[in-house]
């Protein structure tokens, strides 16, 4: 990382910390923001955050590793999280899972070589009435079938991909977007 990039990163984090209250309670929002922007929280960033919040880097590491949605490893641009909990399981998540693996050519827990997709399990997405459900980044898809898996991936690759690096919130409308 260039010196200027580091300075910019530090300035960004300092701004975030101020916004979220200037104390340790800002830690998780800041990590979420970094995760959102960069797709992961690097060890360097953790140390910068720790420095600004006056806590130990290892504490930041411990916090980051505790939460499923914060990671220190670079993941794909699209993180697909398929719900594996009981209702989705009863509604056929296994076949959706197999199809995802087939279409992406990776196993759960892996990232495609092009760095576009990461496949993960999730615990209950709160869509039990419309299972099987999966999240792509912050966007939810329900009643997914093995057949629609392909469409979802295509949507990511084309349309969604163009906007993916922008603020994702603008893409979320209500009621919940449903495939």
């Amino acid at each position: 990382m260039l010196v200027s990039e580091r300075e910019q990163l530090r300035a960004n984090i300092e701004r975030q910390v101020k916004e979220f209250g200037n104390d340790r309670s800002a830690l998780i929002p800041v990590l979420q923001d970094v995760q959102h922007k960069y797709g992961h929280v690097s060890e360097y960033v953790m140390q910068v955050v720790a420095d600004i919040l006056h806590i130990h880097p290892v504490e930041v590491y411990g916090v980051a590793s505790f939460y499923s949605f914060i990671g220190h490893k670079q993941k794909g641009r699209f993180i697909i999280r398929l719900c594996r909990t009981i209702s989705c399981d009863m509604q056929g998540k296994d076949r959706v899972a197999r199809q995802l693996e087939n279409d992406l050519g990776i196993q759960f827990g892996e990232t495609t070589p092009d760095g576009n997709f990461t496949l993960e399990w999730a615990n209950c997405l709160g869509m039990c009435d419309q299972g099987p459900a999966l999240l792509v980044n912050e966007r939810i898809y329900t009643k997914v079938t093995p057949e629609t898996v392909h469409d979802i991936l295509e949507e990511c690759r084309t349309l969604f991909g163009v906007y993916a690096l922008q603020e994702k919130e603008t893409l979320c409308e209500l009621p919940t977007p449903v495939k």
Partner: protein, 639 residues
């Protein structure tokens, strides 16, 4: 200003900060409540925990994650008890009594739960007790016996899951023995504020890790070893060089010299079943001879040497600041505690100039042995092996610092902890407490009380003051402090201050004549000093200095990395607690009182060294080459 140990540590949640009696939000109040434990009734202040109450009336409740020095965690669940009216079992360590309750400590439910918890721990605890350095001194093992574990209900690991981390000069971590009580984490983050260890992930994937799960040798660990002293099992231990030491002893071409520090002598009896507070200094000399060491020296000698060098350095700094009006780094920080030195190098590298350049007594001794002693006895320094018996795990790192070879050889070859020495002695079939007493060897046989008190927090300061007062004021310390006991710097309060007005000055003693012509410039000045123990307190001092507070006005500050000073060091016998440390301190101070000579500058061996060897005096050319060193700014960022 009174700064308390562990005030506002960054990590521990409010409800879990260190509170030996009571829990925040439910502090102990004047209100009294009646508690019935196993049909025994007792009245205690509201807020006292069930565990404290039980202790008071002699009822034993087993504990594992609980430690007197640490904030309450309540995670191992071994101390569960039945509280009447509660659906679930409650942890005795974390339950503050605020209203009358009835407690039962060994009902069927409680016994079953404890046994299950033990079996669950054992189902993950890899290793056999007889191949473990904590055999017979392991809290998990003791509980397994107490609860009659005769088979593993939920299995026992057949293969290790983790690699043993031997990357550090000082510590070895074997996570296969870890039971996740998190005492090490609370020690590292809350007690010591170093922040090396934390829990990674969650659920059964959780594990104690360093930042990025890197080897211990690559992170900001200061090697204080406090985690070792508080680990209930054998997951943490010091890096043990006894094999190499035995090999040196067995090698007839090697001249093996050992120096013993005061704290191990005060503590080693605990490894042989004695109550804390029984120093075995002279019994140890005999035992070490029996083990085969060629010469036994007293680290107190080089402690006295340190006082002369460090004290002179302080006077020179003050002279530079007050007379020459030159920019100079003040306050001067002591450098005897290698844990503290590494802490400063990591977290406050910009303050390295404040650190006294004088080496620690261990390293000074090594350098003197491989030069002066070698010449004196016509031994080739390459054949000398210097061993140091220290209460400290960080000393192992210190003697391996690349800069510590000023004699042309590695100044100190091996650092042994008190525990390792006890192991060697028992291996030699020696019953230490039964040994006859014998003296140290010459030429470094005479020591002073000032050297002894280096083992307690405030001791270096007290020793330095005894010398500085006499050298500068030309009076006896006894004129100012009864029995030359400088009480204000003693004790276990986190940070202690002393202000000493210099009303009158005396003539400059011969030793310092070359350096400073007179003391006039000190007349009417007030010497301000402070002592802090435990790196959490060191952090408070450093932040105060940064903020320009009271500490920044001090001239000299003593820092010791370990709570209580060296007597609470990471190489000392396990377990540790405030009362054990207090007993060791008492032993050290009574040993000091028993010495005829109690001031470093009066040590005849030291005086002789300056006449025969360090001929250009304290902080002179030879001394600078051999007895002083430099430091490495390490920073806290890990790449």
């Amino acid at each position: 200003m009174s700064i308390e140990l562990n005030k506002n540590t960054s990590r521990s949640p409010l409800s879990q900060r260190i509170q030996p009696m009571g829990i925040p939000g439910l502090e102990i109040t004047d209100k009294l409540v009646t508690v019935t434990i196993d049909d025994k009734e007792v009245t205690v202040p509201s807020g006292t925990t069930i565990l404290e109450v039980a202790k008071q009336i002699g009822i034993r409740i087993p504990t594992l994650c609980y430690h007197e020095d640490l904030c309450v965690a309540g995670v191992c669940r071994i101390c569960v008890v039945e509280v009447e009216g509660q659906r679930t079992l409650q942890t005795a360590c974390a339950y503050p009594v605020t209203e009358p309750i009835t407690v039962r400590t060994h009902t069927r439910k409680v016994r079953q739960a404890r046994r299950h918890i033990l079996d669950l721990m054992l189902s993950k605890h890899y290793g056999e007790c007889y191949a473990c350095f904590r055999n017979n001194n392991c809290e998990l093992q003791a509980l397994a016996k107490e609860y009659g574990v005769d088979f593993f209900r939920f299995g026992h690991p057949e293969k290790p899951r983790f690699k043993v981390d031997r990357s550090s000069h000082s510590l070895v971590r074997d996570m296969d023995k870890c039971i996740l009580c998190r005492r090490c984490i609370r020690t590292c983050i809350d007690l010591q504020e170093v922040g090396v260890l934390e829990v990674d992930k969650r659920s059964d994937q959780s594990k104690v890790i360093t930042f990025g799960d890197k080897p211990l040798g690559e992170v900001v660990c200061i090697n204080c070893g406090q985690c070792i002293n508080r680990c209930p099992t054998g997951a943490l231990r010091a890096n043990d060089p006894t094999e190499e030491v035995w090999a040196a002893i067995d090698d007839p071409t090697k001249h093996v010299v050992i120096q013993t520090a005061p704290s191990p002598r005060a503590g080693i009896g605990e490894c042989f079943g004695l109550e804390p507070g029984h120093p075995l200094t002279f019994e140890l000399n005999t035992a070490l001879r029996e083990c085969g060491f060629d010469k036994i020296f007293d680290t107190n000698f080089s402690a006295d040497l340190t006082i002369i060098e460090e004290g002179t350095e302080l006077l020179l700094r003050l002279h530079k600041a007050l007379v020459e009006k030159k920019a100079v780094a003040l306050p001067q920080f002591t450098s005897c505690s290698p844990g503290w030195v590494k802490y400063l190098e990591h977290f406050y590298p910009e303050y390295i100039p404040n650190l006294s350049s004088a080496k620690s007594p261990q390293q000074m001794f090594g350098a003197v042995i491989k030069t002066y002693y070698a010449q004196l006895n016509k031994i080739d320094p390459k054949d000398i092996v210097t061993v140091a018996l220290m209460p400290c795990s960080a000393k192992k790192f210190e003697c391996n610092r690349p800069e510590m070879c000023d004699s042309g050889w590695k100044d100190v070859d091996y650092g042994l902890t008190t525990r390792e020495m006890a192991q060697m002695i028992s291996e030699a079939g020696i019953d230490l407490p039964a040994m006859p007493k014998s003296d140290f060897d010459d030429p470094f046989g005479t020591a002073t009380g000032s050297g002894v008190i280096f083992g307690a927090t405030g001791g270096v300061m007290e020793a330095a003051l005894r010398t500085v007062i006499e050298l500068v004021c030309g009076i006896k310390v006894e004129d100012l402090f009864e029995h030359a006991d400088i009480i204000p710097v003693r004790g276990f309060e986190g940070i202690r201050f002393l202000e000493l007005p210099i009303k009158k000055v005396g003539p400059v003693p011969d030793l310092l004549k070359n350096l400073i012509p007179d003391w006039k410039w000190l007349e009417g000045a007030t010497l301000k000093v402070a002592a802090a123990h435990g790196t959490a307190n060191a952090k408070l001092v450093m932040e105060d200095i940064k903020a320009g507070g009271r500490c920044s006005e001090c001239h000299f500050i003593e820092f010791m990395a370990c709570p209580g000073g060296c007597l609470g060091g990471g190489g000392q016998p396990i377990p540790t607690s405030p009362s054990i440390r207090a007993a060791r301190a008492k032993a050290i101070y009574s040993e000091d009182a028993s010495y005829e000579i109690r001031k470093s500058h009066e040590n005849p061996a030291v005086v002789k060294l300056y006449t025969e060897f360090l001929t250009d005096g304290p902080c002179g050319h030879i001394s600078h080459k051999l007895l002083h060193t430099g430091y490495t700014p390490r920073g806290k960022y890990i790449v």
